[in-house]
Point group: none
Chain length 414, copies 2
């Protein structure tokens, strides 16, 4: 079954505010085998609302409209649905009583405009709102010859989510043919997106019943596999079979078969090898440490490190001599190696990581462009140094560099 | 002039990912007096794309389609626009050459599927993409008797934004009737959102011609004031007058009258006072250093610091004695103070910041709850120590703590 979510509110058409409820609703709908095919964000204008509702009913079976149910004159969802479906809106006496009762509880007098929240669409079931004054509405209608399920729910997240859970989900379960969704998330590091797709598309396209989504961000690839079947075992089996083939193809680019982040995986391997890690960061300025310490319990394997932004700090915290810097430059393989070894020895960690580079936008020289990064990883027996040149702005270069550094650690521990 | 933004990509119809580019595009469109009336999110299905494009062209004058321009078989935007407008798509020889040249620069061989990025719509102007292989396209067409402006731009934020700025905005300015919008952004730190609104709403509601938006995130409040008038001086005057009154009310919570980030302001004051800063972070694990070093040129005032996640590192990098930790606990005012002094002395910076706390979810004791953070700031004459208890998950507690730390530095330097 296909769904659309319409979020109503002019504030979500400004540069500063976004609809986020729909992520939650999507998760809930997916659980019962309903896919969301469209999301629309529309302002508080009745004409725009009517056109959005009609467009939606023409292309999906299930429509959730969020917002525009409040008491102000900008709240026009009820009126728009009535116009789109050519049905009437009547003021419901029991809803009026409920509004008065609610106002009495809060010891306030109810403004007259609040009463519009008691307007109920012809044929609708009223969905009580435990956390606000505007109730939701459920409609099971015929639109242009087809049956459509339509839900009006309030916009504030603390009203929308509980009302959807308690009022809409049980009704949906009773009206939507039972489907079971199996899901897997695979993650891979530092494989270019186009290369990943070239390798993987010939495989996943042979599983048309599994919806495969590839997300890429700064050296991280996330593959989500979703399969919806009436038979839960079959759905599971299809997803697992495809996941197995994709994992094989991704080889050691793959770092997680079950959705964990690269930071989590690095910490997992550190624990497995009873190793500890320290980092000396120049160009990433604390980003690697910050990513690792974002994982609860990271202190078990991560001892800490130094943000050696200035040359004297490279000496003070990682023992990198001014002479070495003078000879090779602060951005060099030699300094990365010295940082890795120095921080490891100073901290007593099993592994030391050193990183130095040019995050930009300034700082490039003739031989060293913006984006050039040297990363070194050292243990008592061995130091690996790599150089990479990343493209993009300062933020992106730092993200790529931190991703590459974490991947280097993962590969050493694997 | 009315616009719609269509974001293309099945990943944005999952519970895990959202379109965020549209916020940026909305800001840019608003600047030239174009309002965004609709946003649509649609998956990588040609039929759905075609219906979304046709719906959009029927209701707005200006359509921006983001995403679906890449090399994979899921990238169907070009094909869908051709179908929606009943125009042809031809492979452009100069674009093919550009793709080959690009591949040569990066010393890679180009996969055959990349060539579909050279397909150009009949009558379209190709918009060069400085940061990726998929160019954008600009179309000025008649649809059902009306003139429509249509832009196809790539989805990745680092490609979408610069391409929109350099290629679309100048063309839009030449095609959209001029209007004058005045804008100001005020920012304040560590004032609770409800308190801010209670103080500020009685003022900004008396300026109905200025659209005021308040956004709050982890101790940061951003107030945006927008005023659109036919007379540019009048728009400017209204915004400045309201901004002046809000600034006065915000007192020293206000840290920027022109939209700069707290990191930028801290670096600005450090430069002004010819001071340098070093940080010793425990619970924030590098987040403060990472935030400061996200600003280009931060190396002028930020020397670096230490991520002292383990107790031995607190000793090694900031000279905090094991005895002091044993007496007061690693999370204590005394240790924060010792970290601040220690890192300042070790690095020779003018100012030293020390931070220690319990980011959770574990680590709380009977007397020290999750969210408790001690922050100390030291210069040769004086050390201030504060404790705060922040609510929320690990990420939110770390964000609040880093914000409070930066604000402490700002207040010292102000």
């Amino acid at each position: 079954m296909k769904a659309e979510i319409i979020a109503v509110g002019s504030e979500m058409l400004t540069p500063w505010r976004q609809d986020t409820n729909s992520l939650y609703l999507t998760e809930k709908l997916n659980e019962i085998g309903v896919t969301v095919n469209f999301k629309t964000i529309v302002g508080d204008r009745q004409k725009d609302l009517v056109s959005s509702i009609r467009n939606a009913l023409a292309r999906v079976d299930l429509l959730v409209i969020m917002g525009g149910l409040g008491p102000t004159q900008d709240d026009l969802t009820r009126e728009a649905v009535a116009e789109a479906l050519c049905i009437t809106l009547r003021r419901d006496a029991s809803q009026v009583a409920a509004l008065h009762a609610r106002a009495a509880t809060w010891r306030t007098t109810m403004p007259q405009n609040n009463l519009k929240q008691a307007d109920v669409l012809e044929g609708a079931t009223v969905l009580p709102n435990a956390n606000g004054s505007a109730p939701g509405q459920w409609l099971d209608v015929i639109f242009e010859g087809y049956r459509k399920l339509l839900m009006l729910i309030p916009g504030p997240p603390n009203e929308c989510k509980p009302l959807f859970d308690t009022e809409c989900m049980p009704r949906l379960r009773a009206n939507v043919p039972a489907r079971h969704i199996a899901k897997r998330t695979l993650r891979a590091a530092m494989i270019p997106e186009s290369q990943a797709d070239k390798m993987l598309a010939p495989i996943y396209t042979t599983y048309p019943d599994v919806e495969t989504t590839i997300l890429a961000h700064a050296g991280d690839i996330q593959l989500t596999l979703l399969c919806s079947k009436s038979n839960p075992e079959l759905a599971r089996q299809r997803v697992d079979e495809l996941a197995g083939r994709l994992e094989e193809t991704l080889e050691d680019w793959l770092y997680s078969s079950t959705g964990e982040s690269l930071e989590q995986i690095v910490l997992y391997y550190l624990g497995l090898r009873q190793s500890t890690l320290a980092v000396a960061e120049s160009c990433t300025g604390g980003m690697i440490a910050q990513r690792i310490t974002s994982v609860p319990g990271s202190s078990r394997a991560f001892v800490g490190g130094a943000v050696v932004y200035s040359d004297p700090l490279k000496a003070a915290f990682a023992g990198v001599s001014a002479d070495l810097i003078a000879r090779h430059g602060a951005v060099s393989a030699e300094v990365a190696e010295a940082l890795a070894n120095g921080i490891r020895i100073r901290t007593g960690a099993t592994l030391g990581l050193g990183i130095t580079g040019i995050a930009g936008p300034t700082g490039a020289t003739e031989s060293k462009p913006v984006g050039l990064v040297y990363i070194a990883l050292s243990d008592p027996n061995r130091t690996d140094v790599m150089d990479r040149t990343f493209r993009g702005d300062r933020q992106r270069i730092r993200e790529f560099a931190s991703q590459q550094a974490l991947d280097l650690i993962r590969r050493r521990l694997m």
